[in-house]
Amino acid sequence: MPHQLEKRVLLEHAEDPALRTLDGYRRLAGGYETLERAYKEMEQDEVLKELEDSGLRGRGGAGFSMGKKASFLPRGEMAKYLCCNADESEPGAFKDRELMQRNPHQLIEGIAIAALAADAGHAFIFIRGEYDEQADILDAAVAEAYEAGYLGTNILGCHRDLELVVHRGAGAYICGEETALLDALEGKRGNPRLKPPFPAVQGLYGGPTLINNVETLSNVPHIVRHGAEWFKGFGTEQSPGTKVVSISGGVRRPGNYEVELGISTRELIYGLAGGPEEGHEIKAFFPGGSSSPVLTAEEGLDLPYSFEAMAEAGSMLGSGSIIVCDDRVSIPHLALRTARFYHHESCGKCVPCREGTNWTVKMLERMVRGEATPMDLDIVSSVQQNIIGHCLCVLGDSMAMPVGAMVRKYREEFEAVMADPELVLDPHAVVLGAPETLGATT
């Protein structure tokens, strides 16, 4: 049974394995009824207006209005595309995996309706290569949807076509960046493109392209079914709707929890995820995946969990992935581990990210080995400043913001480790990434 703090829309019936099949999706969730209504009764502008009015913000990290993004696509006879970004690779984020695994048809229906709004004839799900099982599930669901006439040519006799292809990525975090995703999809090296032009104007194969995250698109059938007003009934004014939050790290019940945006962060971490393990306290947490600046427990626990509150606190809600660090976590080691991830994943195209991530790792490695001086701490800080805002895409910032915040907020801890590397709390007490199990909903 869902916890009383949860508000399940996307994850409704998630525990029932039958939901994965077309029959189950129809029976349990009234699946594809909305698609049928949208295709048969609605015009492109009606669908678009509903999405715009709902205020749905992108769930992939940037939080940009989904309807507004769709409205940027030029009208006309050119080939247009829709890409579902399922390259969920941010340490701490594992919500899309669960959404695709448990309810693939909800995503497919969302894509088909969004394609109507974008007037796209070709859609792709770019799924992270490691999500092999989920890709198989999607493949099976897509085949069912084709079979049932929800995809393909002349959908439901409405003279509209939509081809949907599940494309498996080859294993690079950068391909989750929307323009790198497009290059990878086109068969090129997955490197970010210069913006502008934005994908909405010139995206895949040079055509106007709408790119949305799995969770964003999974919201679409619900919004079109119940209307924008219903959707705005959840969450806050600036962060309407529910959000599937991945909670991991030093908590007793890590997993995905769907809640209304604006819920207190303390309730999320303590009430739903069970709080820290016996005998420990929460020291800090990443509110929106490993790329969000860490908040100390004092700073963050009592904030509402919303886009605006996290931004105001100098961090971000991002993809909605909370990584909790308890009092055993060594912040310098956490910084190194964070930096190593982004160094490993930097595509190398632009200089500040390529060299900045590499240099930061080398400096942090020296620090935890005790081979650094306090001056190095200033250099690390200044290097992070030199990265932020100077890169081609946000990957560089994704390291510089959390590492910069850690150095700023836990300077004494860095100095202590540098002075005596043996004085480490527990370098292994860091959990970055998804837990082994699927979380509390199982």
Binding site: R189, C350, P352, R354, E355, K362, H390, L392
Partner: protein, 843 residues
């Protein structure tokens, strides 16, 4: 956003700067004398990539710093390039770049001419905060036999990779690995062998890519840069010679968008060691006698020519009753050299027999019409063309830089390409329609094309369709099609059918067989036209000169920069002609089979040594400037010719380049008034010089619009070998003896270039006979088989290469290769050859 052409005003660092709306801020700043540092930006490579982040600037109203290379200019934009925020960002980028750069400037060839060095000095922090170990690679290693790569110095600006992928389109260079482990390389570490690859050494902003021919040869502070023109092919790319101790050490680009777009091919770049090759003719030489003094040699030459001409006792200028028996052929020569040569032949030797073409070509009246400004395309017009027809030539081999230009037009401007040739070309992949005609059928095909554009349905229709629908049409055509009677006239019909004369941006652009063919024709080195293409008494063409030498009608020959035994069709006949001649004077840069048969050999300056002008195929006069010293025994070509004229009793009044140029421009009506200053560093098209010149030339020539020639084309009564696909629709029927029609072509690397320049030796082509799968099967041959190719008693050995795109019924072989030169088989017109396996032939 592309430039709209609207003039706008922006403010940079408090100063108002005039700019064009939509152009990149970086370009606008540069024009306004504001320097913004950059590494990756290079408009020649296409759209900006914004990778290096060096050009970040502050734009009012935009919170984050923006890359000026990728920000289009808008009216009223206020930009700051020197604020604290900008300085910090730029300094940070330099610091980041140096995190992994070895800073081995003292031993780096780029040191002193290195953008990274300059920008570190100008915009960097001035001190290093990096104490960590830098990345390491094995270095330097061979990226190709000509280019070394030092991956530690590489700053991953992407320029070389963009060149390979988006300019040369060879797609060989790739970025391998990710992040700071990224390195530039090729698939499977194969050597990067491609005809333009040396350009990556020019665009590399650090010392990561260096040419083996220049590594450790000089330092920037003891070299000089001498701007000149490469005359190794008709492209006439603008180059700069790097000269140390008066010797050429390197050839680099000297951007001229009107000519080369800032690129040069590897022939031009690496073909300079031949200036000092052991084969170089270093002084005058007499047959059998070895070295001679200039006085002796010129006296001997004059005496021999006078004797051969039969004017021993006849004063210059008098009308001798006996026709002169001397002829001259020019190959590689400047305008002034050609002009002087024709004066010697016409005025001093009283002979009309003069040519500058390898075999034959159109009559003077047709040449006049082809030269009319209204139907001439300029190189730059390829960029903006709606449709491009490549006709009877493969630019990659005949004028390499135009291959890149056509690719650019397709890639960046969506130009539609159609190709009509005998042999498959390097550009076929980007063509909308391809037509293959059989060797010898060019004239017929072009005639068909003209009528197809006019609406007729025939084999040329698919090609014609693209041209008909296009507005601006540029036809790039190979001179060799005009060896066939009627081809040039048919081409003029194509010009008429596509309304070239009245369409701005449309025109014909010839790729001639030799570098300065246009200049030599315009200087009067033609059998039936003098300077300015003015008609004269008809003399003999190259082919006729050869036959007349054999028959004894002619007895003396001057060859100026021409090597018939290598370059002209029908080598056996030329052997015979040179043997039969009583007296041969050969002006040559290098010893070759022809100089071995000459009575007097006179040395020529190379294009790095000589002073003179050449005329680009689009009419652009360009200046070749002396850059390096001559070998001691070599004199300026103009002086030698002028001296020879004096010895023959003709006082030309020419004793220097300026006097020669003045005489030339005075004699060529449409060069009138052009001065050296007009040519400057970029050249000047004579067509652009003055509108009245245009009219003068137009009225000199039959009006293409008034009397469109319609009866010039004589269609072959049994049209053969014209097709719109990859096979000839009406291929020659397989003959019982298994013979095939021979098509020949000049390979980019065939000829002395790969023999006289040691670094290029590995590129020397071996003779291959290219066959279609059908013919190979019929003849029982496989790729790699050694065969003997025979024609009328002449044979050459070759290796079989089966090529999918070769039409059935035709075999292709290369001209000019060292062993098995296909010219040996070209016994007049299209010829049939038989092919036998060498084991069967008993070889």
């Amino acid at each position: 956003m592309s430039p709209t052409g609207r003039e706008v005003t922006i403010t940079i660092d408090g100063r108002e700067v005039a700019a064009v709306e939509g152009e990149m801020l970086h370009d606008a700043a540069r024009k306004g004398d504001v320097e913004i540092p950059y590494f990756c930006y290079e408009p020649k490579l296409g759209d900006p990539v914004g990778a290096c982040r060096m050009c970040l600037v502050e734009i009012e109203g935009i919170p984050k710093l923006q890359t000026s290379c990728s920000t289009p200019v808008r009216e009223g934009m206020v930009v700051h390039t020197r604020t604290e925020q900008v300085k910090e960002a730029q300094s940070a980028v330099v610091e980041f770049l140096l995190v992994n750069h070895p800073l081995d400037c003292p031993v780096c060839d780029k040191g002193g001419e290195c953008p990274l060095q300059d920008i570190s000095y100008g915009w960097g922090p001035g001190k290093s905060r990096v104490i960590d170990e830098k990345r390491h690679f094995e270095k330097p290693i061979e990226l190709s036999p000509l280019v070394a790569i030092d991956r530690e110095r590489c700053i991953l600006c992407y320029r070389c990779v963009r060149f390979s992928q988006e300019v040369a389109e060879d797609a060989q260079l790739q970025l391998i690995e990710r992040g700071d482990r990224t390195f530039v390389g090729t698939f499977d570490e194969r050597p990067y062998v491609a005809p333009f690859h040396g350009n990556i050494t020019d665009i590399c902003p650090v010392g990561a890519l260096t040419s083996y021919t220049y590594r450790f040869r000089a330092r920037p502070w003891d070299i000089e840069h001498a701007g000149s023109v490469c005359t190794l092919c008709p492209s006439q790319c603008n180059v700069s010679f790097t000269v140390r101790d008066e010797k050429v050490k390197r050839v680099v680009t000297r951007d001229n968008a009107e000519v080369d777009d800032g690129w040069i091919c590897d022939r031009g770049r690496y073909g300079f060691e031949m200036f000092d090759a052991p084969e170089r003719v270093r002084g005058p030489r007499l047959k059998g006698g070895g070295e001679a003094s200039w006085d002796e040699a010129l006296e001997a030459a004059a005496a021999g020519l006078r004797a051969a001409a039969g004017i021993e006792h006849t004063p210059v200028g008098s009308n001798s009753a006996t026709p002169s028996r001397v002829a001259a052929i020019a190959g590689d020569a400047s305008n002034e050299e050609g002009f002087l040569l024709q004066r010697i032949v016409r005025e001093a030797l009283g002979s009309p027999h003069l040519d500058s073409r390898p075999s034959r070509g159109p009559k003077a009246d047709v040449l006049q019409r082809l030269a009319a400004p209204s139907v001439s395309a300029r190189v730059r017009e390829i960029d903006e063309a709606d449709a491009i027809l490549v006709l009877g030539t493969d630019p990659l081999h005949s004028s390499p830089i135009l291959d890149l230009r056509v690719r650019k037009a397709i890639r960046r401007n969506g130009a539609k390409l159609v190709v009509a040739t005998e042999r498959p070309t390097a550009l076929d992949g980007g063509a909308e329609a391809i037509a293959r005609y059989a060797p010898g059928q060019a004239a017929h095909f072009v005639g068909e094309l003209a009528s197809a554009i006019g609406g007729a349905e025939n084999v040329a229709s698919p090609v014609a369709e693209t041209l008909r629908e296009a507005g601006k049409v540029v036809v790039i055509w190979g001179e060799r099609i005009a060896r066939e009677d009627g081809a040039a006239e048919a081409l003029l019909e194509v010009a008429e059918a596509t309304s070239m004369a009245s369409t701005e941006g449309s025109g014909l652009l010839e790729i001639p067989d030799t570098t300065n063919a246009r200049g030599l024709r315009e200087a009067g080195v033609l059998p039936d036209a003098g300077p300015g293409l003015a008609e004269t008494a008809a003399g003999k063409s190259t082919e006729e000169i050869r036959e007349a030498l054999i028959s004894g009608e002619l007895t003396g020959l001057i060859l100026f920069g021409a090597d018939p035994l290598r370059d002209f069709p029908d080598t056996p006949a030329w052997e015979e002609a040179l043997t039969a001649a009583d007296f041969v004077v050969s002006f040559s840069m290098h010893e070759n089979a022809t100089t071995a048969k000459a009575d007097v050999v006179l040395p020529l300056e190379t294009h790095a040594e000589k002073d003179g002008t050449v005329t680009h195929p689009d009419g652009r006069l360009q200046r070749v400037r002396p850059s390096a010293s001559r070998p001691e025994g070599v004199l300026p070509n103009i002086i030698v010719l002028s001296e020879l004229a004096s010895q023959l009793g003709l006082n030309t009044g020419i004793d220097s380049q300026p006097t020669a140029f003045a005489a030339l421009t005075e004699a060529v009506s449409f060069y009138n008034g052009i001065e050296d200053a007009d040519i400057g560093g970029r050249g000047i098209r004579w067509q652009d010089r003055r509108p009245e010149v245009d009219q003068a030339v137009e009225s000199d020539s039959p009006d293409t619009q008034r009397d469109a020639p319609t009866s010039m084309v004589q269609p072959n009564p049994s049209p053969r070998g014209v097709a719109s696909a990859e096979s000839l629709s009406t291929a020659p029927p397989p003959s019982n003896d298994g013979s095939l029609l021979l098509g020949t072509y000049r390979d980019l690397w065939a000829g002395p270039i790969t023999e006289l320049n040691p670094p290029l030796k590995f590129l020397a082509p071996q003779q291959r006979v290219e066959l279609s799968l059908t013919d190979a099967e019929r003849l029982g041959l496989n790729s790699g088989d050694q065969v003997r190719v025979s024609q009328n008693g002449n044979t050459i050995d070759a290796q079989v290469q089966i090529k999918e795109r070769v039409p059935a019924g035709v075999a292709f072989m290369a001209e000019g290769v060292a062993d098995g030169n296909a010219n040996a088989l070209l016994n007049g017109g299209p010829v049939q050859v038989t092919i036998e396996k060498r084991s069967e032939a008993g070889a």
